[in-house]
Structures are given as structure tokens and as C-alpha cells.
């Protein structure tokens, strides 16, 4: 008796977005993300879209109280974000850079919008890979900073945000005008995720210029909530909920290294934080993450190998 595989067929497809744009002469790379019409890695069900892309996070300020494993790696470059980003792209294989503009926070360095924008452009020029730019979390400041970043990096198709249903107009409008994409963020909540996406559609942001951030919970700190929400969002999208048919980005490095378990444990052999970060990412890849932002180069490498293996290749550990 022959065995026939049951194929799950979904009526809808996740929109395909393009991040990064070439500038004449400098060989800027771009990434295509999304496009799935199946659940992650189930390519036997149908076209499963582009493989997830793995990027690395860079901060504009030297992080305070870093755990030793991060301090050891980034110590020499942490004071110079451009150098740090160049290392990520050239030495550690980051497919994109995620620049976190912590220093713009009025309570921290209160860096000027101009300084932030110049830094973003310098990182773009130095690395040659697509750029994600995150604000500092202060809505009023992010509105002016990200607007300036949008203008300065016009036409480079950066992914900018996050925007939330309480604060989206200024940043989304600036991104649209200058040819960037926006990160639509919700607080681990399917209804709020739909809300911000509907609001962005209403504003006129095309489906090809939105990436969703369902808010990442690290392993042990809400990972299963994030997983459930992402799974529900993806299933609803594939079944026809068009406002949610968008790629998703997760910030595994940042969230995993906040866990006390990541900062403790043996420091010889396998670093617990690296495992913590890689496990957070590996889990969320199964929930439908299309863009994964990492911190530690070793965790980045492990996750990249993991994606390769899931896609049918050989895994080298």
C-alpha cells in the first residue's frame, strides 16, 4: 500500500518584503523576507517562502553591567558602534545589523537626532548589509530621532521602529516618504497586533513595508506566550486574516541575556547565556520568526546552522 502524505493547504500567503537597497558602487546587499504559504520549514506542504534571516544587534552606547561572555567578545569594539557593526557583518556573518539607539534616551545620553541619523548612515555605509534601526523607547524622542534617521538614510530601505497603536503616525509617515519599512509592535497580544497593522494599512503603509514585532519573551521569561501569539498570528494569516499576513521579527539576544540564568552558570565550556539565546531563537523560528536578532556571535552561528539544517542541509556544530 502506498503512503500518501497529507498536505496542509492554506489559502493565503505571507507578504514578501525587501530590506536594504543597493547604492551605486558600494555593493549594498538586500534581503527578501516572508512569502510563506505554509507553517515554518514544512516545505513539503507548499512554498514555505524565504528562509529566516539572522542579524546581530549593535548599541550606540557601551552597555552597562554586561555579563562577562558579552563583555569579553564586544569589549574591544563596544565604544565604536560602526566598528562593532563591521565586525558583526564581516567577521560573524550577520545578514543584517540591528542598531539600537539606546543613547537617544533623554534619561541616558539624550543623543541628538542628527547624531543618531549620522551613526545609522555610517553603519549602513561601513557594513554593506541591510539595517534595522530601533528607537530608545521614549515615544516623543523616538518620533524626532526616527524621522531624522528616515530622512538621512532615504531610499536605503531600512526597517525602522517600533511603532505601536499609541504612537505610529509620525514614524510610519516618515518611513513611507523616505522608502523604509516599519516595525509594527504589540505587547504579546494578538488583538493589539492586528490593531496596529489595521491602523498602518489605514494610513496607507503597503503590506510590503511592514514587519511585525509580537514582542519577544526570552526562555523562562514568557517565551511560551510569545510562541503562542506568533503561532496564532501566523495560522490566522495563512487562513485569510490579511492584515496579519506579514513577516515577524524577534529580538532573541536582547531578551535572552536579560535572564539571570543567562548571566550565571559555568563560564568554561558551553556558556549558558549562549545556549539560552540560541534556544530562545530556535524556539521562535518554529513559531514563524522571519527575522531573528541575536547578540552573541557563537549563538548566532549555532542558530544559522540550525536554520540550514531545518532547511534540509547539514548542521555543523
Amino acid at each position: 500500500m502506498s503512503f500518501e502524505l497529507h498536505r496542509e493547504k492554506f489559502p493565503c500567503r505571507i507578504s514578501e518584503v525587501e530590506i536594504g537597497a543597493g547604492v551605486a558602487g558600494n555593493g549594498q546587499r538586500f534581503l527578501q523576507v516572508g512569502g510563506a504559504s505554509t507553517l515554518p520549514f514544512l516545505s513539503f506542504d507548499g512554498p514555505s517562502g524565504h528562509l529566516p534571516v539572522i542579524g546581530m544587534e549593535v548599541w550606540d552606547v557601551v552597555p552597562e553591567l554586561w555579563p562577562a561572555p558579552l563583555e569579553n567578545i564586544f569589549g574591544p569594539v563596544a565604544g565604536d558602534p560602526v566598528e562593532w557593526a563591521r565586525h558583526c557583518a564581516q567577521e560573524w556573518g550577520a545578514e543584517f545589523i540591528c542598531l539600537r539607539l539606546r543613547g537617544a534616551d533623554p534619561e541616558l545620553n539624550d543623543a541628538s537626532p542628527e547624531a543618531c541619523a549620522t551613526l545609522a548612515r555610517d553603519v549602513l555605509d561601513a557594513t554593506g548589509v541591510p539595517l534595522v534601526v530601533l528607537g530608545c523607547g521614549n515615544d516623543a524622542k523616538d518620533n524626532v530621532v526616527l524621522q531624522k534617521v528616515s530622512e538621512t538614510c532615504a531610499g536605503r530601505r531600512c526597517l525602522i521602529g517600533p511603532v505601536t497603536s499609541d504612537n505610529y503616525r509620525t514614524i510610519a509617515a516618515a518611513a513611507m516618504v523616505n522608502g523604509h519599512l516599519v516595525i509594527a509592535q504589540s505587547p504579546v497580544d494578538v488583538n493589539m497586533q492586528k490593531q496596529i497593522c489595521v491602523l498602518l494599512n489605514d494610513l496607507g503603509v503597503p503590506q510590503t513595508q511592514i514587519v511585525m514585532d509580537p514582542t519577544t519573551g526570552g526562555l523562562g521569561y514568557g517565551l511560551e506566550y510569545t510562541y503562542s501569539v506568533m503561532e496564532r498570528v501566523r495560522l490566522a494569516a495563512l487562513q485569510g486574516e490579511s492584515s496579519l499576513a506579514l513577516p515577524m521579527i524577534v529580538f532573541c539576544g536582547f531578551e535572552a541575556w536579560r535572564a539571570k540564568e543567562a548571566k550565571t552558570g559555568p563560564t568554561d565550556g558551553v556558556v549558558q547565556g549562549v545556549a539560552w539565546e540560541a534556544l530562545t531563537a530556535g524556539t521562535l523560528l518554529q513559531a514563524g520568526a522571519d527575522m531573528v536578532v541575536m547578540l552573541h556571535p557563537e549563538a548566532t552561528r549555532v542558530v544559522r546552522e540550525h536554520v540550514k539544517a531545518l532547511a534540509g542541509g547539514e548542521m555543523t556544530l
Binding site: N191, K194, Q195, L199, D202, E241
Partner: protein, 266 residues
Amino acid sequence: MILIGERINGLFRDVAEAIQAKNPEPIQRLAVTQTEAGATYLDINTGPAVADPAAVMPWLVKTVEEVVDTPLCIDAAKLPAIEAGLKAVTKSRPIINSTIAEREQLEKYLTMARDYGAYLIALTMNRRGVSRDAADRLAMAMEIVVTADELGFPVSDLFIDPLVLPVNVGQEHAVEVLETIRQIKTLADPPPRTVVGLSNVSQGCPHRLLLNRTFVSMAMGSGLDAAIADVFDTQLVETVAAGRVLLNKEIYSDAFLQSVKKRSPK
């Protein structure tokens, strides 16, 4: 829930005049405005005054398809007019509206629907007329399902219409229709779908819109899949949107009403 816009019908004077004069403009305007209002299908009916519906139907289809991508519901009393309409369709998979549950006619319509890859609306009535109660309606629904199955027509591509009557002349029918909608889902797995001609419920009554809106939410609660309706009644479209959310067919968001509007026609 599928909302089939009812306005492109020769029973309405503006449409009848446009057909008479072969003037595409009023028809195309109705196609665009109904789509923008939330219609997911457009009913297309030449009306009774046309001498040769089979000659007019292709023109109507072409006229509408020129301005919208919205799929069509080809509505005529006679088979040749429907077939002429089906031949003219170039875009999405259409719905045929409709056949009665009389064996010989069912077979012809099911075969035609299968050959043209269309959905089919079948009414729970036969030559003897409309049924009295839910049991009668269900017996005919069962005949429809069995015949479709015999002819290899997918039961889930069937829309069974349990026939809504005006509440001012057949008050006892509304509750029987709701019961029929509920029970039709038990006839097969996967079950056939259900559709009603919603505005019928209020024909000749004052407070028509209130009756339509109330009945559609009751019918949705019973499991209704589609309604041929007046989509220009904004509150009706919003009632359906709210119903979809409450039935957990669509993810809630505070902006759920915004997501039903602003559907672009093309």
C-alpha cells in the same frame, strides 16, 4: 460571511434603464460602490423586462468585470441566460443563482456548475412551491446534497437557500429558516454552505433595515455562510463585521470596523 451585493438587478429601475440603453456607466458605478461598501460578491440579474436575457447577460458580466475584480453571482431564472453569463466570466470563480430542488433541473444545474467550475445556489423548493417548515426544507436540502454527491459535485461548493419569506405575510417562516440553517450543517461532512436572500424578510414592511440587520445576526448565529443583501446599508455591513468577530471567525481588534471598509475595488 460572504456578502453578495444585490443591486445590479433589472428589478431596479436605474439598472433596467441602463440595460435598455446599453449604458455601462450606472452598472459600473454600482459594481464599484458595492465593492467599496463591503460586497465580497456581486449578484448580476438582467431582470424580468429583458426580452432575451441570454443576450444581455454577457454584456452585464463584461461591463462589471471591466471595473472590479469582485467575483460574480450569475442570477437568472433560465439556464441559457446563466450559461451565457458563465461563458463571459474571465476573472474569479462565480456562483450560479439558482436551481430548485427538482431532480431533473438539479442534475442540469449541477452538471453545468461542475463543467464551469462554479459554486451553485440551490433553493429548498420544488414545483409544488415553498416548504412549510424546517423538516420540509431539510428533506429538500438532503435531496440536493445526495444529487450533488451522485454527480461528483463537491458538497462544500453548494450553497443551500432555505428561502426567506416576508415577515408580514409569513411570520412563521423566519424561525423555521433559522432552524433549517442550523440543521443543514449536519447533512454532510464537509457540510454544504447556506445562503439567504436577506432583503426578502422585510419585503413590503416599514423598518426594513432594522428587520434585515436583526435577521442577519440571528442567521449568522445559526451558522449562515452568505447573504444576498443591500450592502449600502452601512449598519448591516457593520453588524456582519461585528458578528464575524463575536463568532470568532475573525481576530478582534479595536479597529475591526476599519478593516471591513476601504476595500479597494481593484
